[in-house]
Structure formats: structure tokens, C-alpha cells
């Protein structure tokens, strides 16, 4: 009897073990099926020429489905060593234009030199730093690389790494 019982236990455990391994692998497959596709992940290098930008005028482009704000700073706007992108001899704000609260797109108010988010009243200054309301942190800076007067979004250049280190 004892022999029989332990053999049954063994069968049960072997069966359970195989089923468990299979289950875990299946869950892994399911998780990866939900992952973003490689084509989605790869589509993500955008080149912009900064030379036509006017001072104080906001330009919005799309990168990875997100709006990117490009703003050439005027003399009145506060310089921000930790966030400004210096190209040529001008300072630029290069920011992901999504409110860090819940992801609405703030709009640029030229008269007050502010970004205002209509969703829950968040406000940001010209460098993208949160100054009022629910947004918990400044708007993010996308990874970029400077190449003469052009900017490559999606690639981490040395200037980007410097900014990240300062932040």
C-alpha cells in the first residue's frame, strides 16, 4: 500500500509541476502579447530643424504619439541651466507637452509666458516647470541629440545626458 501511495503522490506532483510550469509560461506569453509591438517601439526618431523658430513662439511637433513643445526663449524668460537646450547661442525649451498630472496637453499663453492645463488648472512656466495646481513635477524632457542646428528626438546625445545628470 505504502508503495502505491507514494507512487500516486509522485504522479500527482509531477502532473502538478508540469501544469504549473506550463501555466507560468502561458502567462508570460500573454503578457508579451500585450507588449507594444517592435514597430511601435522603433518608430521614434524625429529630426527637427531649429533655425526657422521665432523667439517666444511655440512650435508643437509629434514624437512617439506625443506632442513636443519647442520654444526659443526670449530675453525676458528666465534662463534655466538645468533644463534649457542650448543650440547655437540661443536657449530652447524642448519638452514633452503632456501635463504631468494626468496627461492633458497644456496650452501656451504668450501674454503671461505660461503653459496652462485646462483639465485641472495646472500651470507651468516657460521652462516647463510646474508652478501651480495638481501637476506633481515639471514636464518631461524627451531624449535628444544636437546636430548643428537640428535636433534628433529619441536619441540620447551628450547634452541630454548632461541635463539628466543635473536634474
Amino acid at each position: 500500500m505504502a508503495v502505491k501511495k507514494s507512487r500516486r503522490d509522485f504522479l500527482g506532483m509531477a502532473f502538478g509541476g508540469f501544469a504549473a510550469v506550463g501555466g507560468v509560461l502561458t502567462l508570460g506569453a500573454m503578457k508579451q502579447t500585450w507588449d507594444p509591438l517592435p514597430s511601435v517601439q522603433a518608430a521614434g526618431f524625429v529630426t527637427v530643424d531649429l533655425s526657422p523658430l521665432q523667439e517666444g513662439e511655440l512650435r508643437t511637433i509629434t514624437w512617439r504619439g506625443k506632442p513636443i513643445f519647442l520654444l526659443k526663449k526670449t530675453a525676458e524668460m528666465k534662463k534655466n541651466e538645468n533644463r534649457d537646450v542650448v543650440v547655437g547661442n540661443a536657449d530652447y525649451s524642448v519638452i514633452i507637452g503632456l501635463c504631468t498630472h494626468l496627461g492633458c496637453i497644456p496650452s501656451w499663453i504668450p501674454s503671461t509666458m505660461q503653459f496652462k492645463c485646462a483639465c485641472h488648472g495646472g500651470e507651468f512656466d516657460a521652462s516647463g516647470i510646474n508652478t501651480f495646481g495638481p501637476p506633481p513635477r515639471p514636464m518631461d524632457i524627451p531624449p535628444f541629440k544636437i546636430d548643428g542646428m537640428t535636433l534628433v528626438l529619441g536619441e540620447e546625445g551628450s547634452e541630454y545626458k548632461k541635463l539628466v545628470a543635473k536634474a
Binding site: W34, P36, G65, C104, H120, G121
Partner: protein, 415 residues
């Protein structure tokens, strides 16, 4: 194997194979319901009718809907609304029923709270019910995304972003859920799958469990009287119908329910034909545009109270950001109803009008949730933000106080 004899008729033929007579008894003619109930006890059947309407109208919409970012908007607003015969009817039925089902769910829920129908053996009814509420919320949210209008898109953007508040894995989780960096085609298609397959399956399964959970502890009644169902059923079967405190589910209880359903349906079809616009936000008739946020984003009315709890906390406390407080409060609001039976420390089942402190608590909660709902819709400006904040904090404090209040009621004795 059962001995099969020549059948006397169709029913008998079926009975020999499926025991349909026994089944009908168990499910209908000998399922006993207390007499001492009111129209609020009919909400369950109203919900079943609404769910059927949703499934049927959904089937017809599914024949023309296209879950693709380039086609979705037109397949709804052009094909279904203008080309398909009666397409408008299915869409308006679907939208209005979705809105109404939440109204009835709330009534159903507050009836349960008022009469204490969530404790002393009825916990599983409450838990499955709240699970259903959760899945219905996901169902409503995923369905709202499908027409791919501006509100669809931005509600999806905001709601999926909420998961970013989860510590450590937050931002990766958001991308994973969306299947893209922003809400996009992959997001639409997977939420379409959830809306038409996985979530409805879960709902139907849970509804069955919800009904079954009612069977053992039986339906509660207006005075929370503990009935001996067997004895009362015997009286009824012996013909002492007047004396018995119970009636069979079919035909007696349901005939009353059908009346309530009838009245409700008049109102429902009035809305479908003349006032469907309350379930169709005008902003959603503009195609989704990821580069333009609508001026004011708000959810459908049934999510407004929890939305207001989320945004009520608009200032940081010490090192904790306003957003994290809001998110924590939102999480609280969404799970707290689930554990309701365990917050009530009064072991006795009694309607709120016999529990002095709980009665006040109940009405305060209802009023607070109505205030939250109203202010959730208003833009967060000036005085609104403060009223929203007070209402949000009151909501939390009410639930913190619940165990103490019910305990006191229990000690003080009920009337």
C-alpha cells in the same frame, strides 16, 4: 441510467432527460421570496432587463463597428448612424441603457446598504455585487472608447494614466496597458476585445454567482425579520397564502416585478427616443485628435463622484504631492464599498430607520455623493475646488467613522 418510458408530451420528454420539472421548482415555483418588500426589491430584475438590452443592441452594433483608429469614428457616426436601417436605434439603446444601468446599480446598492442586506450570511451577495460594479465600470469605460471621438480619446488617455501613479512600475505599466506610448490603434483594438468578449463573459458569470449567493441566505425584507422559510413555504403550499410570509418567485414575485419593469421601461424608452443626447456627449462627435485636448474633460455622470474625490485634493501636504494624495483617495473610494460588510460592526441586520446613528450616516453619505457628482462636472475653479475638497474629505471621514458609529448603535440597542 434512468429508465426512459414513452413520453406523454414534450414536457414529459424533456423532463425525463433534463428534469425540467424539478428545475422549474427549484428555480421558480418553489423559490421563496418574503412578502414584506417594496419596489426597491425589483431593481435586480430591472438590471437583468437592461443587461439584455445592452447585449442585444450590442450584437447589432458589432456587425458594423470597426475597431481601427482610421475607421472607428466613421463606422459609428456615418455607417451605423446614417446608413444602417435602425442603426441609430441600437446605438441610442446601447448608450442610454449603459447610463441607466448605473443609475439602477446605485439604487440597488443603496437599497442594500439601507436595509443591511450585506451581513449575517449575505456577505457574498455584496462582494459579488461590488465585483460586478467594478467590471461594469471597466465595461463602460472600454465601450466609451470605441466611437473614437475626442472624449473617447482623452478619457482613455487620462484613465490609463492613472496607473502611472502606482509606485515603481507605473510608467511601464501605462505603456503596457496601451500597447503604445500614447493611446493609439493597439489600445483601441485591445479595449474592443475587452468590451465585447472578456468583460461581458466575466459579467455573465458573476451575475450567476450573484444570484446563487442569494439562494442560501435568502432575500432580506423591509423589517429584516428572520423568517423560517421552510415553515412559511409550507403554509403557502397548504393554501394559507394570506398567513404565509412568503410568495413563490414565479409567478407571484415576478408579476409584481414586471409591473415595476413596465413603469421603468416607459421612462427608459422616453429617454431613448426623446432624450438620448444626455448619454451622447457633443464633444465626442469630433474625431479623436491626440494633439488637441478638449477644454474640459469629465467622465460620464456615474463616475463623477469618484473623479471628484480624485481631483478634490489639489494641494500638497508636506512632501506628498497633490496628485498622489488624490490618487490614494481615489483608490480608497474604489475599494471601500467592497469591504462595507466588514466595516459595519453591528452584527444585527436592521433597516437604517431602526439604527439611530447609522440612519444619519446613511443620508449624509448619499448627500455627499450627490454633491461630489455635481461638483465633479463643474470646472475646477474658485470656490468649486474648495467645495470639492470638503466633499472629498467628508467622504473619507464618513467611512473612517463607520465602524465606530455602527459599534455604538450595537451597544445602544436598536429600536
Amino acid at each position: 441510467m434512468a429508465h426512459i418510458r414513452k413520453a406523454e408530451g414534450v414536457i414529459d420528454w424533456l423532463d425525463q432527460r433534463l428534469a425540467v420539472k424539478k428545475l422549474a421548482k427549484v428555480m421558480m415555483t418553489e423559490y421563496w421570496i418574503p412578502k414584506d418588500i417594496n419596489f426597491l426589491w425589483a431593481m435586480g430584475v430591472v438590471l437583468v432587463v437592461l443587461l439584455k438590452i445592452l447585449i442585444i443592441s450590442g450584437i447589432f452594433l458589432l456587425m458594423y463597428y470597426k475597431p481601427d483608429v482610421n475607421l472607428a469614428f466613421d463606422s459609428v457616426n456615418y455607417t451605423i448612424m446614417q446608413e444602417v436601417e435602425y442603426g441609430w436605434l441600437w446605438r441610442h439603446l446601447h448608450g442610454v441603457a449603459a447610463s441607466c444601468i448605473f443609475l439602477i446599480i446605485y439604487i440597488h446598492m443603496f437599497t442594500g446598504i439601507y436595509y443591511g442586506s450585506y451581513k449575517q450570511g449575505r456577505e457574498m451577495i455584496w462582494l459579488t455585487g461590488m465585483a460586478l460594479f467594478g467590471i461594469f465600470s471597466a465595461e463602460a469605460f472600454s465601450g466609451y472608447m470605441l466611437p473614437w471621438g475626442q472624449m473617447s480619446y482623452w478619457a482613455a488617455q487620462v484613465i490609463t494614466n492613472l496607473f502611472g501613479g502606482i509606485p515603481f512600475i507605473g510608467s511601464d505599466l501605462v505603456v503596457w496597458i496601451r500597447g503604445d506610448f500614447a493611446v493609439a490603434d493597439a489600445t483601441l483594438t485591445r479595449f474592443f476585445m475587452l468590451h465585447v468578449l472578456l468583460l461581458p463573459l466575466a459579467i455573465i458569470t458573476l451575475v450567476a454567482v450573484h444570484f446563487y449567493a442569494l439562494r442560501i441566505p435568502h432575500v432580506n425584507n423591509q423589517e429584516a425579520e428572520e423568517l423560517d422559510f421552510e415553515a412559511e413555504a409550507k403554509k403557502f403550499q397548504e393554501g394559507k397564502k394570506r398567513e404565509s410570509k412568503v410568495v413563490p418567485f414565479w409567478p407571484v414575485f415576478l408579476s409584481k416585478d414586471f409591473f415595476v419593469v413596465g413603469v421603468f421601461m416607459v421612462l427608459f424608452f422616453y429617454l431613448v427616443f426623446y432624450h438620448y443626447d444626455f448619454a451622447m456627449d457633443p464633444i465626442n462627435f469630433e474625431p479623436a485628435n491626440s494633439m488637441k485636448t478638449p477644454a474640459h474633460i469629465y467622465p460620464e455622470w456615474y463616475f463623477l463622484w469618484s473623479y471628484e474625490v480624485l481631483r478634490g485634493f489639489f494641494f500638497p501636504v508636506g512632501p506628498i504631492a497633490a496628485m498622489d494624495i488624490g490618487l490614494a483617495a481615489f483608490g480608497f473610494a474604489n475599494v471601500i464599498f467592497m469591504i462595507f460588510p466588514f466595516l459595519d460592526r453591528d452584527p444585527k441586520v436592521a433597516p437604517a430607520h431602526r439604527r439611530p446613528r447609522f440612519k444619519i450616516w446613511f443620508w449624509l453619505l448619499l448627500i455627499d455623493m450627490i454633491i461630489l457628482t455635481i461638483f465633479g462636472k463643474l470646472p475646477p475653479l474658485g470656490i468649486n475646488t474648495y467645495i470639492g475638497f470638503v466633499a472629498a474629505i467628508s467622504f473619507i471621514l464618513l467611512f473612517v467613522a463607520l465602524p465606530f458609529i455602527t459599534k455604538k448603535d450595537a451597544l445602544g440597542g436598536t429600536k
